[in-house]
Each structure stands twice: as structure tokens, then as C-alpha cells.
Amino acid sequence: MTAMTATGGSEERAGAGGAGEGTATRGLYERLKAYEGRPAATAGVGKDPVNAAMIRHWCEAMGDVNPAYEGPDAIAPPTMLQAWTMGGLSGHQGRSGAYDELSALLDGAGYAAVVATDCEQEYLRPLRPGDQITFDAVIESVSERKTTKLGTGHFVTTRMDIRANGELAGTHRFRILKYAPPPARRKGPPTAQPQPQSQPQMQSQMRVQVQALAKARRPRPVINRDNAGFWEGVSRHTLLIQRCGGCRTLRFPWLPGCQACGSPEWDTVEASGTGTVYSYVVMHHPPFPAFDPPYAVGLIELAEGVRMVSNVIGVPYDKVRIGMPVRLEFRCVDEELELPVFRVDETLQRPVSRGEG
């Protein structure tokens, strides 16, 4: 018995894509390991006490006619253990920031797809109608990077301790694989999402979800001979601004000549990485598969005076403001795409905003 866990949607949707942490893959495993032992859910309370109606529904759905689950002395089927902790359509309660951070870190490293792989349960005492359920969960382990048929990624195991009226009644280990699907699976533009299927089987639902996530890649940069140097710079973690060889004017976006003087000669200067938010928008509608609205997109004015569109990270989407000082970071948004993004950094002195009026 497995169930999909919704691991997307971090609390902090700063900038597009929402991952609150994470830059390059360097040191990723160490950072993932640091989440071991941290809470995944704290002081959770079952939405309903153990009850005959849910037991009957379960038994009918499973085709389980065991008489132990009926009558005045009925116990709950032991495999219902997790069911008493589920958030249902109204969502989870008590899930910790650590679990969301870990998910976001994996998302940011390109392991944006998720599949539930297995679960293990131990039963210490039967659950009976009327039992009040409480639970805590911990991130028990994060695996090294593994390559599977689905793709390369990390297994994340959580262990949940389930209590009935305060007494430990069972444990539930749940394992997911956060992974990057291989490129061959994702040809063509990320447009239509597969239609949800009506079959009740969990496997087919999971397959649909995996496909949807696999297609949900950000639009690619449009790279050609005139701007390839910029993206080569990004791959080396440098942000390159063109400088006219004639009049020395800095320019962005990249073009093969200078509007100020027409000279075709140019070289590049590396941006210092500091800047300010010159303007921004918050995207709400329409939704795009690779983005999780609402999210902010900023127009950054670099200290060198040129501007570029990017994402502002480090603050929630609704806290981005014109004039905020920002600092360059590089972020892997999937296994093939790394982007220059800008983290709000209030330790930087606010430069005087340029170009007013």
C-alpha cells in the first residue's frame, strides 16, 4: 500500500519556481543529509477518531471480509494505519518547514519529479473505534544519488510514529524518490499536460503525475550565435555584460553591435553580481506547467547600470519591492538549465535608484 505524497509547493514561493534554497549541485548531498533527523510533521492530529464508517468503507474498497473488522468488538484493519493520519482533500496539518525545505532543495537541484516507491509498517497494538490518533514524523534518511529506470535522484524516507490515545500504536515508513527524468522522455515543448485518468488504480495515477511533472520544465532560453556567450558565461557561473569596443557603452541584452555608436566590436565585463529591483510583477494567471503561481518576476538593474529580467528569491512573492538590493546566484532549475537569479540581500547598501521619471 502506497500513496502519493504531495511534495511540491513550498511555503515560500519567492520568485518563479518557488524553491527557497539551493544553488548549484556542489555539496548537495551534504546539504540533503543535514535534514536527517529533522521533523517532517509535528504534533499531527488525526482528522477523525478511529471509526466504524471509515473501516467499513476501507473493507468494501479492499474487498476485505475479515470478521475482525465488524461488530461490537471490531478493530481497524492494521493496514489502515496511515489512513488515520491523512490530510484528505482539505490538506495536511502540522507538516514541518524542514520537509518543504528539503523538497524545495531537491526541486532546485533539478530533481523535481516525485514517485512514491514503498512503505513499511509495524503494528504495536490494534486500533479500535473511538481511539484518538496523534502522530509525529521525522525525516529518517536521504539516500545518496541513485540512478533508477525513472531517472537519477535521491530516496527520501520518513518515519511516522502513530499514537492512539497517547500510546504508540504503530510506525509507518514512507519512501519517495525525488528524481530528474532522463531527457529522452521529454521531447517537444512543455505544453499539454496529460489528462487525468479515471481508473482508480494508484499506479496509473502515479504514472500520470510523473508524466505531468516530467513535462513541467521551464521554457528554455532562446540561444543563438549572437547571445551564446552569455549562456556560456552562466555555465561558468559568471554573468557577462557586453561592452562596446568603440564607445565602451555597456549593453544588455546581447547584440552583435552597439546602438549608441554602431560599432561591431565588443568584449565582455563580468557583473559584480549586485543590483536592485528596478521593477517587478507578480504572475497569477494564466498558469503555466513549469511555474507555480503566484510568483514574482523582477527586472534587475545591475550595479553596472544594465538591466535584465530574472527571478527574485529569498523573500515571498508578495514581499518583492522596487529598490530592494539583490545579489546574484546561480540556480539549477532542472537537470539541463541553470539560471542567474537574484537573492534579496538587505545587508547591501541600497544604491540610489537610477532613471527615475
Binding site: 532562446v222 510583477v281 504572475m283 494567471h285 494564466p286 510568483y295 529580467v309 532549475v333
Partner: protein
């Protein structure tokens, strides 16, 4: 040359016919069919037949080639056909192209048309997620990986800066929406006929891309619009009073992009529209005070404010108050917010109706009407005038190389 001196086109062509299909959300027929219907309606309006047409102009974005339109509309040989690029920025420029052709004798009757199933077919508002690595694609490509994907978002980036610079809130945009919908409410051809809105409705509408709300964004439309351009002399013999083309101009600014001119100036103006404005004022010898009605392109409300400022109707940062004061009849058909989104072509038709005295929101004795095309893109504009109006200073003192005497 017209960046520096008045051009010689003034008064040498006129709009003699206008015609549109119904404006709907699902036309149920092809874009070609819509184009043919609009062209036939415009020719009927002028009292001309398809056989009279020797020139056609449309947008590069239009899916109906001039030759296919001619085949399907009963039009024969063509001596002039042209297309203008940059989305809605093409609207007034199609008329300029036609006027250039008829003024020089390259053609005698030129029809400008635009038809699409923009609501039931390809919706521009659904955004862009990939582009080819052409120069044009690369220019837009800088925005795509970061999720800045829609026309609303590209306008919103400048709108946010405008609000910040002048200390305004997004409610400042509401006056444009309310004005457009008020006019649409009285226009039976408008999609939002009978459906005015209030400032509260605007402020309560949902965010699309902050700082733009739903009611800051124009609707999406299926339909077609056509305009017949010919010489003033021929127009005077036709069914309707001519709308003289007093001035026509295109404009692109420095560091111009298509909707994403984020890398220049203060993002609080529309430099390309300033290029248009300077030419229109100089060639027409008119000033903002001479304009009776303004039809300003309104795909999104903020850029109506910026246009009013670029044309000098009010000072920078004051346009919201200017619209609120109702000082100038504005978008009297309801605009694209209220009547229909026909890429600006329906606004030109409204300017003609004002000069004929047949607008659903008629301004008494409308003599000079300003019309503009798409904003945020390389764009165009027109001053259309009632026949016999002339320019206020008289144009008979024009310098050599200047416009010929007014009619």
C-alpha cells in the same frame, strides 16, 4: 524624413468605407471568411465593388494572405499589397501604407483588413513558452526561462514602475476601464453592450499579473474589420462623407523591443508613441487642444495613460486624473476593453464614425480625431479629419516640401 519635417501625405488620402463582422467569442467560421465578410461590408459602405480594389494591406500577423483574400472576395489584379509587422502596432500603419499608395498613384482603392479568431482560436493571452532562435525570438527569449510569458506581464513590468514613480496605486488604472465600459454599454456592436462597470468593480477584479487586474486587460475577440482608403477626390463621389487622413505616422524608439523594452529610460513612457506624436502634431499642425475625440489603443489600461502623456494631453503622472475628469472623449466605441479586440482596427472605424456623426457616443461636430495603434510595440497613429475642416492655422502657408493645401 518625417522625423524632422512635416511630410507630404497630409490630406492626400481618405477613408471612404468601414466594415466589420459581428464581434463574438466564437465566430464559427474561418479567419479568411471573416476577412472576406469585413472587406465586402466595407466596400458596400463606401459604395464600391470588389472589382474596384487594386490594393490590399494587412498585418504580418494576419493569417489571410492578400492574394487569398482577393481570390475569395472577387478582387482581381493587385498593383499594391503590403503587410505591417509588430502586432497591433500595425493598425494605423496599414492606413498609412494605403494612403502612401493612393497619394502616389501606385493604387487607387486600397482595403486594409484584419480578421482573426483570437478568442476561439489562438489566444494571445495564453502566452509564449518557446521561440525560434532568430533575432526576434532571441529578444523575447530573455524573459521566458524566468516565467515572464504573457502580454499582460510585459505591460505590468512598466506599469509597476509607473505607479512607483508617481506614487500611485493600481486603482489609478480603473478610470480607463470604467470609461471604456461606459461607452461600450451604449454601443450595440460592443461585446459589453449594456454592461458598464464601476471603479469598485475594477478594484475587486482578480489579479492577472500584478499590478494588472482582470478589468485592466482587454477582452479577446473573434471578428474582422476592414477600411477602404482612396483619394479624397474619389471619396467625395462615394456614398459616405470622407474621413481625411490629415496625418499618419509610424514610430519606433531607441532600444525598441516588442513589448519588452525594459532596458531603456525610466519605463514610465512610450518613446515609440512619442515618435508618432511628434510627427502627427507637426504634419497636422494641430495640438492636443484641437482634438475632439481620442481613440487610444487599450489592450491594457496603463498604456492609455502613458499615451495621453506622450501626446501632451496632460503632464507625466497626471493621466489618471485626466481620464477621471472626463476632459476628452476617449475610446467612444468602448475601446478594446469594451467593444472588441480587433488589434486596433475597430478604433479606426470608430474615428470615422465620429467624423460622420454616427458614433454610438457621438461627440458634437467632431472635426479632428486622434487614433493610435498597439502600445509597447513599434506603433503608428493617425489624425483623421472631417472633409473641409483644414488645420486650425490653415495649411496654405506650408513650406516647400510641406503638406499641400488642405481641401
Amino acid at each position: 524624413m518625417s522625423l524632422h519635417r512635416p511630410d507630404a501625405l497630409s490630406g492626400r488620402a481618405a477613408i471612404a468605407g468601414i466594415g466589420a463582422t459581428e464581434f463574438s467569442k466564437d465566430s464559427g467560421r474561418s479567419e479568411l471568411k471573416l476577412a472576406v465578410e469585413a472587406v465586402h461590408t466595407a466596400l458596400d459602405d463606401a459604395g464600391l465593388s470588389p472589382a474596384d480594389v487594386d490594393g490590399l494591406v494587412t498585418f504580418t500577423m494576419d493569417t489571410t494572405p492578400e492574394i487569398t483574400l482577393a481570390q475569395a472576395a472577387g478582387i482581381g489584379e493587385l498593383s499594391f499589397f503590403s503587410r505591417v509587422h509588430y502586432g497591433g502596432g500595425a493598425a494605423c500603419a496599414t492606413v498609412q501604407q494605403a494612403a502612401l499608395a493612393v497619394a502616389t498613384g501606385v493604387a487607387e482603392v486600397v482595403v486594409c483588413y484584419r480578421a482573426f479568431n483570437e478568442r476561439s482560436g489562438r489566444r494571445f493571452g495564453s502566452g509564449v513558452q518557446e521561440r525560434q532562435p532568430s533575432a526576434e525570438g532571441a529578444a523575447l527569449g530573455w524573459n521566458l526561462p524566468f516565467g515572464l510569458l504573457t502580454p499582460a506581464s510585459w505591460v505590468a513590468m512598466a506599469a509597476q514602475r509607473y505607479l512607483h514613480t508617481y506614487g500611485l496605486t493600481p486603482e489609478a488604472f480603473g478610470h480607463v476601464a470604467v470609461t471604456g465600459r461606459r461607452h461600450a454599454a451604449r454601443n450595440p456592436a460592443a461585446y459589453f453592450h449594456g454592461k458598464p462597470i464601476t471603479l469598485d468593480d475594477h478594484a475587486a477584479s482578480r489579479w492577472i499579473v500584478e499590478p494588472l487586474r482582470l478589468l485592466d486587460c482587454c477582452q479577446e475577440t473573434d471578428g474582422g474589420q476592414a477600411l477602404v482608403v482612396t483619394t479624397p477626390e474619389r471619396a467625395r463621389d462615394l456614398r459616405r462623407p470622407p474621413a481625411l487622413i490629415t496625418a499618419a505616422a509610424q514610430g519606433a524608439g531607441r532600444a525598441q523591443e516588442q513589448m519588452t523594452s525594459f532596458y531603456r529610460d525610466g519605463l514610465t513612457g512610450l518613446p515609440e508613441m512619442n515618435v508618432v506624436a511628434r510627427q502627427l502634431w507637426r504634419t497636422s499642425r494641430l495640438t492636443p487642444a484641437d482634438i475632439d475625440v481620442a481613440i487610444l489603443y487599450d489592450h491594457f489600461t496603463p498604456f492609455v495613460l502613458l499615451q495621453l502623456e506622450e501626446f501632451g494631453f496632460c503632464a507625466p503622472g497626471e493621466a489618471a486624473d485626466f481620464v477621471a475628469a472626463d476632459a476628452l472623449p476617449l475610446n467612444t466605441h468602448g475601446g478594446q476593453l469594451g467593444e472588441a479586440y480587433l488589434h486596433g482596427m475597430n478604433g479606426i472605424a470608430e474615428a470615422v464614425r465620429q467624423l460622420r456623426g454616427t458614433s454610438p457616443n457621438q461627440t458634437p461636430d467632431a472635426t479632428h480625431v486622434l487614433v493610435t495603434a498597439g502600445t509597447g510595440v513599434p506603433t503608428s497613429g493617425l489624425v483623421l479629419s472631417r472633409d473641409g475642416a483644414g488645420a486650425p492655422d490653415g495649411s496654405s502657408d506650408s513650406a516647400p516640401g510641406g503638406p499641400p493645401d488642405g481641401p
